[in-house]
Subunit: 718 residues, 2 copies
């Protein structure tokens, strides 16, 4: 193909995208590789696609490879069966789907990759050099196909391939906090993808594209409904609709889960009680499970929020969380379904430090849960703050598989408008050492089951996906969906490497571009911590909608829904004493961790006010007072936005106009909001400390009262 | 360019659209013309684009022509200034923007097209054959550019062009019933386009694509907010956001309007009254208007729903609608703004036939409105039913410019799922003869001002646009947006011709395809009337959400919110007697119309039960009884779906897979719902008439009780 023609093709693709560069394609962009040399290399190593499409999943793999490689390699690739392979062929399949794959004798290597893993390997068969994607299962082949496409999208060499992959976690699940009226709790990307009214008859292509995106990173489950649940989803009005979504996602290896409202037996079953030990209740859930499985034979199971923030639960009947979880687990067990029971609970009555409550409630239940129950624990003890220490439950319940719950949607991380790459946050938690079985007992090893030899394991991410054209509202929200999926598959990946993959697939593989963007992404979360909650401050955001700063929030129905409860700032000191002299939450950690955070000598400044209440004049390791350092961190955070904007603007030649402009506009909003946080928090904390701002710190633009009385209508996500 | 290369380009465009054939591009599709001969003809008649982009609007025209022609003609076209024109050039501009255009001496022809019209003409200048788009204003040039693109998109010849266009109506406006929380009243295409929370900082490309689509059909105004209004939109929290939208739409000639809640002076102005004759109220609105115009110098004005369905209004203070409208008109007049005051009112107290109330209330006010007030009248006397006689207000207020209000969103026409091409409905109303100034006094002539010599005129369409990927939920909803715009520009166009344009631009110009689709579209509304409300039945839909049939609805807060009020079916008879023996609503029409509808000899069966209460055994012109014909019409309506489905399925080779599937799935839902209407209405009316179904009529599948107790949750649009 002549160069001029190729340029023309590119030109038309650009043109035809004049309307379409919204970001809808996510990281699954298959535009021709512009480096002609590289493209020709790929063309010669991938001369044809050979796959026997004997199942819907293999058909999906075939279609994806055809679409992807035809686009990337700039030549029409029509897939054929594996029998017709030749030198340079790409062959994909399982020993069951393809005689050729069977004949390759991949035995032991294949056995090692298990149910979901795959091999990608270069070899010579019948004298012909070929590339092989092999797996024990069809879904493994699909995962391998996406991996191969990623190699091409990120311009990796395809010679002498010997890739062995299998996921480290079994259940890799998105949690949609989507309501049946299509509002999304803590959703900042428009409204729910699930158009319940038009289901089951109308199955949008978008559901399939959603499945493709998830499969491309190995996500294998999705909870369709909000943890603040509505029983209606379990009725015969809605189950056929759920089944239609399940049918659409199934070829991509994604199981559907629902949230189960604990009081459903009363609300839709017309029983008088939902007591988990009541026989009629047990029967009701058993019948309900049987009914669901008639609609959805591979239904995943239930996610439950019980006795938390007003949701009903077993404690309404004097029963434990284990009683509640086991009730549902027994109903699901005959169908191989699981229960994901959330540990995010805190009592309405107890004045105990909220930090401690989940541990207090759940640790005693260790060993009492059925085998098909996972207890789902938020990464930190409070609630998805910009930075939290890991939850003390990790490592504390060795007899129970604990599932990680990360929040991908940015409830506390700038919501719709802040560019925050969250892989560093996820990694910080996963790599944290619980010391519960000695050094190296990382949170990752707790949740992947390796520390305590569990056979089931899982991770959940609260989705940031809505019906916005680009799925996630903020284009960089896509990177968090992507990173969550990649880490769910392999928590050992580095955040930087995931950033490289994502930027390469989403924008460009030019080294300078990627280096610059990677740096921006890697810094972004720390910037946000600085302008929102430096030095271990937490939970000081706006009331209810959680939009913007609100360190002044007080006098609410519960003390632990206020900000003053968490920062405890007065004229003398600031911070929450969780050492032995305070709530002693530290005692919930293993002694090594408790000592590390508990000592002012070792406690990192990032966690300081999580655990210590200190005078404003406390001398920090930098030699500054706590007050001065707090002010300077706010300043540093707010000032980080100018270089970020400048950095992004400088990259405009690597990014199409529409997507560049999207991010550019949002960065400017983020800058305004970063300064808003800076101004409001400094004004407030100065009203406590009474101290002057140190040199180099910009005083707030407006009075404290101005920030306190700022009012917003119709903030999304509630 | 070689044929093989072209095929390749097409291939890649198809590929790159694997993700993008959602329908997002609407009718503005600029993919290469596949007929090579035709493409070459166009290439030689349009060798280059020459336009002096001295304004944002001319820049928009230039960009649209470049994008459109480069795509359609399959060659890169880079626009240049008009000075550089050559043989075969396309020259666009105004006498002010271009010396060349000025030199063409188009004087009288240009004068004739007014402020918004344009010429497209083939001529020879300085010895060179050229094509010219000329207008007096920049927006005329943009409209002409879209016209030229349409000619190419629909494969029309470009030789010896001599096109003169100008709009017949001045204000061509969409009404968005969009709430500030992004829900859309009677919206079935997702949620509101307007992301208020992210405005003014985040201006989506979608706003600009929305503007392009509107400009392409000549729509020149948009009311952003619901007629059931929220005063907040008029505060300084929201006005900068409105201004940002106005800035985005301005280059495309689209003015922004807002709905004004009549009680705003109290709610946001802290006054004690909203009495239109109160001086403080007058001052408040004047100041408010001044403030709005500081944000938006070309703000269009207000749309008001007052004293209707619970909205506050002047009658709360014993004042008339004219007093209310004039209050706002006086505030807007210094800025050339207008008031669109809705006549959709019916009293909470009066037991009078709802049909008559708008007329009774408004006719006496004729002559009392300020010059910048238009009274906006729904097409029929009740509420956007599948078929209504024209509102008797048309022609009855000669001293007042009346604005037409059509409903594009399908509140009563199948909502999200029914394929109904509405141009025949619009035309039926526009072409209806009011006889108020003798034969030929059509509704169209009333609203375009020609009958009564008004200088302002207008038409409004309640938008069917939401944030769905394809804008309108149902792909064929796009045809109604398109048709509304085209008829707003020129109400003399034929519905068939508009269908041809739309199908050609949206899908394919192949004659057989267009003929088949046109026939399907042209029949679609009559099919719906048959399976929903044949023979002049009206207002018998489900309660509140208006989804599905509900002829049994009774005992509601108001009689005229029930179905039994409208159909009056009992064991003997059915229909609403609006002749002299009944409510005498017919007396509101001119004598000729009253006589026509009033006589059983002349009243068309389509309007029969609108005006007459008749025994079930009444002999119809067909020789059948009324009961039998009613049943048979329901049958005919329901049975119309199979051929429609078959017809669409047969067209699959002309439509890309994704869009074909969208429609295919919806047609199957429509079929189910058509039979649901058939079954429920026949079961209900049989329970009244006690008569057997005639031969050939399928009995209802379920009992009447089954249909009456059907319950739905979270139906969209309320």
């Amino acid at each position: 193909m002549k160069k001029v023609t190729f340029a023309l093709v590119l030109f038309f693709i650009t043109l035809s995208h004049a309307f379409a560069e919204s970001g809808y394609r996510l990281w699954m962009r298959y535009d021709p590789i512009s480096d002609e040399g590289l493209r020709k290399q790929y063309q010669s190593s991938l001369r044809g696609i050979h796959i026997d499409t004997v199942s819907a999943t293999l058909k999906a793999a075939s279609e994806e490879l055809a679409m992807g490689l035809s686009g990337l390699l700039d030549k029409a690739v029509v897939p054929a069966g594996t029998a017709n392979f030749e030198a340079g062929s790409l062959i994909a399949g399982t020993p069951a789907s393809s005689v050729i794959i069977k004949d390759l004798g991949l035995g032991a290597r294949l056995t090692a990759v298990g149910d979901e893993g795959y091999l990608i390997t270069s070899l010579v068969h019948q004298g012909k050099p070929i590339t092989v994607i092999a797996a024990n299962t069809d879904i493994g082949v699909l995962y391998g196909s996406f991996h191969l496409l990623r190699l091409v999208q990120t311009h990796k060499p395809l010679v002498k391939l010997s890739i062995t992959e299998k996921p480290l976690l079994k259940h890799r699940v998105l949690n949609h906090w989507d309501n049946l009226d299509r509002t999304v709790e803590r959703g900042y990307a428009g409204f729910s993808l699930w158009n319940w009214h038009l289901l089951p008859g109308y199955v949008q292509q978008r559901y399939i594209d959603y499945a493709r995106a998830n499969a491309s990173v190995g996500i294998n489950g999705t909870v369709l409904t909000n943890v603040n649940a509505n029983s209606l989803i379990l009725t015969e009005e809605y189950l056929p609709k759920v089944a239609a979504i399940a049918d659409a996602l199934r070829p991509y290896g994604i199981r559907v889960y629902l949230t189960a409202r604990f009081s459903s037996p009363i609300e839709i079953g017309k029983l008088k009680t939902a007591d988990p030990l009541d026989e009629s209740v047990k029967k009701w859930w058993k019948d309900k499970a049987d009914e669901i499985y008639r609609y959805i034979p591979d239904f995943g199971g239930f996610l439950v929020k019980a006795n938390s923030e007003g949701q009903p639960g077993p404690q309404n009947y004097g029963r434990s969380h284990a009683d509640g979880a086991n009730l549902l687990a027994d109903a699901l067990a005959p169908h191989n379904g699981i229960v994901m029971w959330r540990a995010f609970v805190y009592s309405h009555e107890q004045p105990e430090d909220r930090f401690k409550q989940a541990y207090n409630e759940f640790k005693p239940l260790d060993g009492q849960f059925r085998k098909n129950v996972l207890v789902q624990v938020k990464n930190g003890p409070i609630d998805f703050q910009p930075r939290e220490p890991f939850s003390p439950l990790f490592g504390a319940m060795p007899k129970t598989p604990l599932m990680m719950e990360f929040q991908i949607t940015q409830e506390y991380l700038g919501q719709a408008t802040h560019l925050v790459y969250q892989a560093p946050l996820y990694k910080e938690v996963l790599d944290a050492d619980t010391y519960t079985k000695g050094k190296g007992s990382t949170v990752a090893k707790v949740i992947d089951g390796s520390l305590d030899k569990h056979t089931i394991s899982g991770i959940a991410g609260v989705a940031n996906i809505g019906d916005d054209l680009n799925w996630t509202g903020h284009l960089f929200g896509q990177s968090n969906w992507y990173a969550f999926g990649r880490l769910a598959w392999n928590h050992q990946l580095a955040a930087e490497d995931i950033a490289n993959e994502w930027t390469g697939m989403t924008f460009s593989n030019v080294t300078e571009f990627q280096a610059s963007l990677r740096e921006m992404m890697m810094k972004s979360r720390e910037n946000l911590v600085n302008y929102m909650t430096p030095l271990g401050l937490h939970h000081i955001m706006g009331w209810d909608h959680h939009y913007g700063p609100g360190p002044w929030i007080k006098d609410k129905p519960r003390a632990d829904w206020t900000s003053v409860y968490y920062h405890q700032a007065d004229e003398k000191a600031i911070g929450f004493d969780r050492s032995a002299s305070g709530s002693n939450a530290l005692s919930q950690y293993s002694p090594q961790v408790a000592k590390f955070y508990g000592s002012l000598k070792t406690c990192p400044p990032e966690y300081l006010l999580w655990f210590h209440r200190l005078p404003w004049t406390h001398k920090m390791k930098t030699g500054q007072t706590l007050w001065d350092e707090l002010c300077r961190r706010y300043q540093m955070g707010a000032e980080s936005m100018d270089p970020m904007i400048k950095g992004w603007d400088a990259l405009s030649s690597y990014v199409d106009k529409e997507r560049h402009k999207q991010v550019s506009m949002l960065l400017r909003i983020q800058k305004d909001e970063a300064w808003w946080w800076h101004d409001a928090c400094l004004a407030y904390f100065q009203s406590r400390s009474g101290l002057p701002f140190p040199a180099g710190v910009t005083p707030p633009k407006e009075s404290l009262q101005f920030y306190e009385t700022k009012n917003f209508h119709f903030v999304p996500g509630i």
